[in-house]
């Protein structure tokens, strides 16, 4: 993944993060790196810490890149090969492109009811 300035691509059409907590950058359309907030729950929180975990990623990073970044941390063995993900409180595929300020959650298999 390139660390150079990257123009946002047109397919990046997910809902934007809420303004709350979003870091302001000099320009809206060109960013080199971004910061996301990672949330962990239940057994993932027990293994990796409760979060929220601030994470800096290259522009253009996807939700899957968050998982990759976490694998270097202690306790990451608790994560399955492809944990379920949410971006800004909505279910998201691993390929979902992230934006600065996004909230990315790693969700253990749900067990409500």
């Amino acid at each position: 993944m390139s660390l150079e300035l990257l123009k946002r691509t047109d397919h990046d059409v997910r809902p934007r993060a809420p303004a709350r907590g979003r870091v302001a950058f000099p320009t809206r359309d060109y960013v080199a790196r971004m910061r996301v907030s990672v949330l962990l729950f239940a057994s993932y929180a027990d293994a990796l810490g409760p979060g929220p975990l601030p994470l800096e990623l290259p522009a253009g990073a996807t939700a899957a890149d968050v998982v990759t970044a976490l694998r270097a941390r202690p306790g990451a063995v608790a994560l399955p090969p492809a944990p379920m993900l949410a971006v800004n409180a909505r279910w998201a595929a691993p390929a979902t492109a992230l934006a600065d300020g996004d909230e990315v959650a790693l969700l253990p298999p749900v067990a409500g009811g």
Binding site: L39, F41, A42, S43, D46, P80, A86, A89, R90, W91, A105, L107, P108, P109, V110, A111, G112, G113
Partner: protein, 163 residues
């Protein structure tokens, strides 16, 4: 997100997280209407056992804003799929004792088939996609997150046996 604490359920279509006890009667009252001759309800209560282990209580945790939104979305989807359905959904989080209600769904409709179908749809959707997790307390003092991904696996403190 702010959890609304124990105000009367009033909207004809609602779904939300709560931190306080769930009343099946209150949910039914919320959906009752003079045009709706059929009411159905589902209540999920904490059982005293799971996967062969005695359970003394359960902590319910959630990704709160997302869970609250998903519960509301499930109610809205039910009302869209079965026009005329009135539905109230509540899922409780926090620590519950055996016998306490963790989830409550009430549905009203002019006819019974949509009332049953929407109620069943709602609990299946809740179990499939609302980010809530439960940690069981066992008689020996230990606790463990219920791992729904290995539901039904023998031996593990897990459950396929969620009600």
């Amino acid at each position: 997100m702010t959890l609304v604490s124990r105000v009367a359920v009033s909207a004809a279509v609602s779904g939300r997280l709560v931190r306080t006890p769930i009343s099946g009667a209150a949910l039914l009252d919320a959906v009752a209407h003079e045009t709706a001759g059929a009411q159905t309800a589902f209540l999920g209560a904490v059982r005293d056992h799971n996967a062969g282990r005695a359970v003394t209580g359960i902590d319910y945790a959630a990704y709160e804003p997302m869970a609250d939104a998903e519960l509301a979305a499930i109610a809205a989807e039910a009302a869209e799929r079965w026009p005329g359905v009135r539905i109230a959904i509540e899922h409780r989080i926090g620590t519950l004792a055996v016998g306490e209600i963790s989830v409550g769904i009430a549905v009203a409709h002019a006819h019974r088939a949509p009332a049953f179908d929407a109620c069943r749809f709602a609990i299946e959707a809740i179990k499939a996609r609302v980010p809530i997790w439960k940690r069981e307390h066992y008689v020996d003092g230990t606790r463990a997150w219920v791992d729904a991904s290995t539901a039904g696996a023998a031996g593990a403190p897990t459950t396929g046996a969620t009600p």
